[in-house]
Assembly symmetry: C2
Homo-oligomer: 257 residues x 2
């Protein structure tokens, strides 16, 4: 197991705000079964009634929904430390699926255990509530993008968001980021065709904002990329510590690798 679940979760909670000693103690009570899942497989499927919540240990997941026409809308991306279906604690029937984009490791926490802990430890409960609220804030921002921004701006915005989220929990840093998603995934997340994503990524390269090669994105001009994406990170509601990590890192300050 590459990472410790409690460290990961505390780091995630700290990225959102202040974690009280009580909340930290409660986190250490969380235990569950570890499960590995292969790329392309579902963790939970649309219509399921799950009995556990998932914490991501490693890998990369997405939430998505398949439509009648056979098209797919990706609703969110999730990295190590995320709780991609915390909502199932209170919404018993899944209205979408959760799938793995690459081989991933998860921890399954029974709803019973989760409910017990959030009730006994309001501090932790409120932090987790806050997590689902930030989740919703990201949905809103995506809605804004899909509804009112063009492909160029939308893609730049998504890449900014993913980079900032990786930095905010110290998963990746610097100018080069491993991003295990295809151009079709980006299209399905932003309501675009894979063809148009390809062309638009070439445009972003042409404007020397980034380089995109299968699964790897290299930032060439962070400020330019943020500007192109109309990216304002308020909606991520990062805590003070995470905001510093994001702003003062290599991306904005340094040029070398």
């Amino acid at each position: 197991m590459s990472k410790n679940i409690h460290d990961l979760l505390v780091r995630k909670l700290e990225s959102m705000g202040t974690v009280s000693p009580e909340a930290r103690d409660c986190v250490s009570e969380l235990h569950g079964e570890v499960r590995s899942i292969a790329a392309g497989e579902d963790v939970v499927s649309d219509g399921d009634k799950p009995t556990h919540c998932v914490i991501v240990l490693s890998g990369f997941l997405c939430r998505y929904k398949l439509l009648a026409a056979g098209t797919r809308q990706i609703l969110s991306f999730h990295q190590a430390g995320d709780l991609p279906d915390l909502q199932s604690l209170f919404l018993k029937t899944m209205d979408h699926s959760v799938g793995a984009l690459v081989d991933s490791d998860l921890v399954l926490i029974p709803h019973r255990v989760m409910l017990n802990i959030v009730t006994r430890c309001p501090d932790l409960g409120h932090l987790l509530w806050r997590d689902t609220l930030i989740d919703a804030a990201i949905f809103r921002e995506w809605m804004i993008g899909i509804g009112r921004r063009n492909a160029y701006t939308r893609i730049a915005h998504l890449l900014c968001e993913l980079i900032v989220r990786m930095r905010s929990v110290r998963l990746q840093d610097g100018l080069r980021y491993d991003l295990p998603i295809t151009q079709s995934d980006i299209g399905d997340a932003l309501g675009l065709s894979n063809v148009h994503v390809s062309r638009t990524l070439r445009d972003l390269e042409g404007d020397e904002l980034l380089e995109y090669r299968k699964g790897v994105i290299t930032v060439r001009d962070w400020d330019g990329l943020k500007e192109a994406g109309e990216f304002d990170l308020t909606y991520l509601h990062l805590g003070p510590e995470a905001a510093r990590l994001v702003e003062n890192g290599d991306v904005s300050a340094e040029a070398g690798c």
Copy 2:
């Protein structure tokens, strides 16, 4: 004041699930200042740090965000009984605005009071958490529509949703619904131009699914409208009682006025 805040709120909570006697008692402790707001004015603005949560007594509100280009994306609509900015309890800075679409009455509950009650009464706290999760589920469904459905389907879907939500808390019933929003509002909610909304509403009328006249929608063929909108109400996560209200009402069963 036309409605009692506690009745409204209990009715809202009942539409989502079972309300325990303890939770009901806690609701009756909620008190706050009443405030009237004129059509077109903001309740809270993007960037604000509110100190109160809002409960809608009467009227109709929306959450929205203005973009650099001067365009607007509407993120949600809110009716009597809704808590359109409950999230501000844990996300201190607003990442969007809340505005009134018609003259509306609100109750302002101080965050301090709200936080006290959700901590003291976990039952109520969990119901309110559930409310914010359903909020997020609606965001997801809108994302799916904006990203992957055409204008015709999108508009039909939105109208189905608004009708079901009104029915689920017994605000309106039958075949005729007062809906105090303009075609521009619909466009801004669905990422469409007002011109295209106008044309598409004419198409829906032509297919004899509904009639749309400024602020009033009359359902002609409820099953047809649901089908046209690919509308499946799972994502609204209604409680059993509300589901019955929605399904067994005049809309589906009767033809007369």
